[in-house]
């Protein structure tokens, strides 16, 4: 068993050409599909489009990045509880997440020539904003078309992908990664969005698991510098 592990470590860590010991900034575009749950077993399959950025440092085999994933989509049929009212309907969904991701680069595993495999893991803090369209129902008078719901969520992220094995970051290596994350809400704020120049928070309440979901995404990008 020990020898198998030793061989695995050796094979997956063989020295390659990629740049090391350098700070870098990466960015790309992403497509995300999510299975989101609201209150009262309401559920929706959401599709979002957006971009991602990663600022980090690359060691020999490890890379630590502070990453952000942003996307926009549309949701339908989800139900939420806010300010004592039950709100249901369709609308726009915005997602932004931040968190550190530690990636291990399997230098010896090259699925394609001059591309190496990596896998990463990290916690994630996220803000999900829901802005209802005209077609929504509310059990009370407080919630209206000018309000938006913002959920602060926490969770974890797992990324597996391949990156081009180039000697200098100035050659802008490309990466392709599959991302899975799970998040559940902790706090809900109702915000008056009638005037975009001002942010008026009308209420803040605990919202444990009022909104939760599995997010699957694919992102393609490159090292900018």
């Amino acid at each position: 068993m020990k020898s198998i592990i030793a061989v695995l470590i050796l094979v997956t860590s063989l020295s390659a050409q990629a740049y090391r010991y350098k700070f870098n900034l990466k960015g790309g575009i992403n497509q995300t599909w999510a299975d989101i749950k609201g209150t009262d077993n309401s559920e929706d399959l959401l599709h979002g489009t957006g971009f991602n950025t990663h600022f980090g440092y690359k060691w020999k085999y490890f890379e630590l990045t502070f990453s952000s994933y942003i996307y926009w989509g549309e949701m339908d049929g989800l139900q939420f509880n806010a300010q004592g009212e039950t709100i249901r309907g369709e609308g726009k969904f915005r997602h932004v997440s931040f968190g550190p991701i530690l990636r291990y680069q399997f230098r010896g595993v090259q699925p394609f020539k001059n591309w190496f495999l990596f896998a990463g893991l990290g916690p994630v803090w996220s803000l999900q904003t829901i802005k209802m369209d005209d077609d929504f129902t509310s059990t009370g008078p407080k919630f209206n078309r000018d309000r938006k719901l913002t959920f602060e969520s926490t969770g974890g992220i797992l990324a597996i992908g391949i990156e081009e094995d180039l000697p200098y970051k100035e050659m802008h290596p490309v990466f392709i990664e599959l991302v899975y994350s799970y998040k559940k809400s902790r706090k809900l704020s109702v915000v008056d969005a009638s005037d975009f120049t001002e942010t008026d928070i009308l209420s803040v309440e605990e919202a444990d698991q009022d909104l939760s979901g599995h997010f699957f995404g694919i992102s393609v990008g490159f090292t900018v510098f």
Partner: protein
């Protein structure tokens, strides 16, 4: 309707003008055979050709670019202090109502050390903050910092702004802390490349646009303005004199 006399005059003038254009020295010189010329004649011909070339091209007084160099800690601190001062001046000027209505030193004390997710509209988080971040990035680039160092310095400057200036009206925001330097640097690289292309095009209009999108190229501290002066005696000595302002 028969053509007027003045119209015919115009047509003849136009034809004459076009014929004149065709008889430029360059065209006349192109017909000469250099193999039958003496060295002196060749030098004279070269001089004439250079003069023609000079008269026909857009002249760039400077070549715009970026020269990365290392900086001392004292220099870093000076730049951070300068940008910090600028943020204190720009913040109340850019949002006078918010500063007046929501700002107070009591707020500053209350918000100090707090970090929250702001609920601002995308206009602020994905437009205003990245634009200000890009200008911070371009300021440091103009002062000779490399791309990654410029981003690092922009991060320090925007963090100082978030934790000590913006708390006058609202707590520091996670989105702004990350997006101002990171998205700002993304945008900054794009603006940097586009502005360099425009500034070096030699076209006055493009140069103006280049300066507008990258205003730090207009200031005294911009280190990438290089003047290249060709020198030649048209025989055996040719050189380039490069002048860089620091």
């Amino acid at each position: 309707m028969s053509p007027k006399r003045s119209d015919i005059c115009h047509i003849f003038s136009l034809i004459f003008f076009l014929l004149l254009l065709g008889q430029t020295p360059l065209r006349a010189q192109a017909d000469l055979d250099p193999s039958t010329m003496s060295q002196q004649e060749k030098a004279l011909l070269m001089q004439a050709q250079e003069a023609t070339k000079e008269s026909r091209q857009r002249k760039n007084k400077y070549i715009y670019g970026y020269i990365d160099r290392k900086h001392k800690m004292s220099e870093n601190l000076k730049h951070i202090a300068a940008m910090y001062g600028v943020t204190w001046a720009v913040y109340p000027l850019s949002q006078p109502d918010v500063f007046k209505e929501k700002g107070s030193w009591k707020n500053s004390r209350k918000n100090f050390g707090q970090l929250v997710f702001d609920k601002d509209e995308p206009f602020w988080n994905w437009f205003v903050h990245p634009i200000s971040g890009s200008q911070l990035y371009l300021y440091y680039r103009a002062n000779g910092y490399s791309r990654i160092d410029s981003m690092g310095m922009a991060f320090i400057s925007s963090t100082l702004f978030e934790f000590t200036v913006e708390i006058y009206t609202e707590p520091a925001s996670i989105q702004d802390l990350y997006q101002t330097p990171v998205l700002g640097s993304f945008l900054g690289v794009g603006l940097e490349n586009l502005s360099m292309y425009l500034l070096n095009s030699g076209n006055a209009f493009a140069r103006t646009i280049g300066h507008i999108i990258n205003p730090t190229t207009l200031f005294w501290f911009y280190e990438g303005k290089v003047q290249v002066l060709p020198q030649t005696n048209f025989q055996d000595r040719h050189s380039l004199m490069i002048r860089v302002g620091f």
